[in-house]
Amino acid sequence: MAVSAEPGLLPEYVRRMPDGRYRGLNPVTRLALAAVAAIVAFGVRDWTGPVVVLGGVVLSGATAGVLRKMALFGLATIPLVASILLVNTFFYPNAHDIIARLGPLSPTWTGATAALQATLRVVAFGLSAALFALTTPMDDLLVELERRGLGRRGAFVVGSALGAIPRMAERAREVTDAQRARGLDTEGGPWRRFKGLVPLVGPVVLGALGEVEERTMALEARAFTAPGRPTLLRRLPDSNWQRAARWTLLTGSMGLAGASIAGLVRLP
């Protein structure tokens, strides 16, 4: 077990103790809940799976006070949802309970039901992922995973890749500005646009490589490769019941999904 700081040693802005029913859960518990949500939403047949997950996620979202932001994330699923609805409603194979004839198209009740169910699954999963992302700062999750044995290098690979995204975007913007200032025309036909990519991609990639090298050296200079377990200053609350709940829920949901797929359990 890694060493941790006594309470009171760290300033409040470093301790950052989460509060609230949902936010107070350990990040690993929340990760497990998101996994359970995915398993149940997609693995349990008929209506029960997606409806239960959707209900749970919305309730948790309300508790954590992020319902509005989750709704915005939910909008991101619209293209997928739309295509599911259209394809299933109009082209469901071997369905004959036609609702109405619209020229060459013949929507079916079977198709519409399947479409609605699939939509619920996608939305339930999407909102559960959004809930997790909105309430879990990346460093909270990393510190807890590291405590559970994820190596420092693993944490670095994940953390720095995510941390580098805004810088990557910033660099891409600067490169685009610099080339446009030299008259690069980014409008026009596909060939012209493709040719325009060369002067953009080159500096972005080379710059990123150079930065990785420099940061690797800078981290070496901060004893990143020291042997032994690093100290983890922060410790987020966890408890025996959370540990038990994580395992129970994960194994339980997998069992339920398996039984449902195999047709052993029939839920409405």
Binding site: M217, R222, L232
Partner: protein
């Protein structure tokens, strides 16, 4: 005065390069003193930093001649995390040196001591010490990615200092900073040397900055030391111009007035105070 870092006849050739980038360099870093390094572009200053800090050949390969010793021990025998505790290294671009994995300056500075697996109380003590020496206690709770250039460079400096190295090597730490940021870093370096006894080597184009903080100066030219000595002497050396190095404003003015054959040097000296 104790020698923290010593190069003796050090030469270095990058992997795959035809010519050596560094030739027969001998110099010493002394506890509590600041050594300034100047020279034209591509004269070997950055290579000197990498060699002195043991990254070349330790991390990037290449071939080293002569010897580089920190506290009497050859750098070639040390592993990177051992080097890190003896000699800190800082580059010009502060943003790339931050981990981008921490949410507060406090945690950023704690990264090094944490990597060494120190007990939390020791980590916290070191972080507070490093923040204090650099003079950025007030930034401790801030987000490290949302600071000015000068402030980020000070955070990078504190992060390296938290490992309590005996010497500190800086490669153009102010080149991307505005005058305000440059002043912040220069003052911090002077204070670190004075209060902690850390030996400092700093590569710096701005000779006005060196005139204020350096005790000794070496001038590099084509990979070798061209001129070396006490800061005031070297900065007034007439060979500087031929080596592509600007004299500090004060030296230039004194020279200009002398060349104009006006006997106002006394008045000028008064005005410069």
């Amino acid at each position: 005065m104790s020698i923290r870092l010593a190069l003796e006849g050090a030469g270095y050739r990058y992997a795959g390069a035809a010519e050596p980038a560094l030739r027969n360099v001998s110099l010493q870093l002394l506890a509590g003193r600041v050594l300034g390094v100047v020279g034209p572009n591509e004269s070997g200053k950055s290579t000197l930093c990498l060699v002195a800090a043991g990254l070349a050949p330790g991390v990037i390969g290449g071939r080293l001649d002569g010897s580089v010793r920190i506290d009497g021990q050859a750098t070639t025998t040390m592993r990177p995390h051992e080097m890190a505790q003896r000699c800190g290294l800082l580059f010009e671009n502060a943003a790339t040196q931050l981990s981008h994995m921490t949410r507060t300056v406090f945690e950023e500075v704690s990264l090094g001591p944490c990597n060494l697996g120190m007990p939390p109380a020791e980590v916290v003590a070191r972080v507070r010490w490093a923040l204090g020496v650099v003079g950025i206690e007030a930034l401790a709770g801030r987000d490290p990615t949302r600071l000015s250039g000068g402030q980020s460079q000070l955070v990078a400096l504190a992060s390296v200092l938290a490992l309590r190295p005996g010497c500190l090597i800086l490669d153009e730490p102010t080149s991307e900073l505005d005058p305000g940021g440059t002043r912040l870093v220069a003052l911090a370096l002077a204070r670190i040397a004075r209060e902690t006894g850390v030996a400092i080597m700093v590569v710096e184009h701005k000779t006005d900055v060196l005139a204020e903080i350096a005790d000794e100066i070496v001038v590099m030219d084509r990979g070798a030391v061209a001129v070396a000595g006490p800061a005031a002497t070297v900065l007034a050396d007439p060979r500087l111009a031929d080596l592509g190095v600007d004299a500090p404003a004060r030296v230039r003015l004194e020279r200009a007035v002398k060349a104009s054959r006006l006997d106002w040097s006394a008045a000028l000296a008064g005005a410069l105070e």
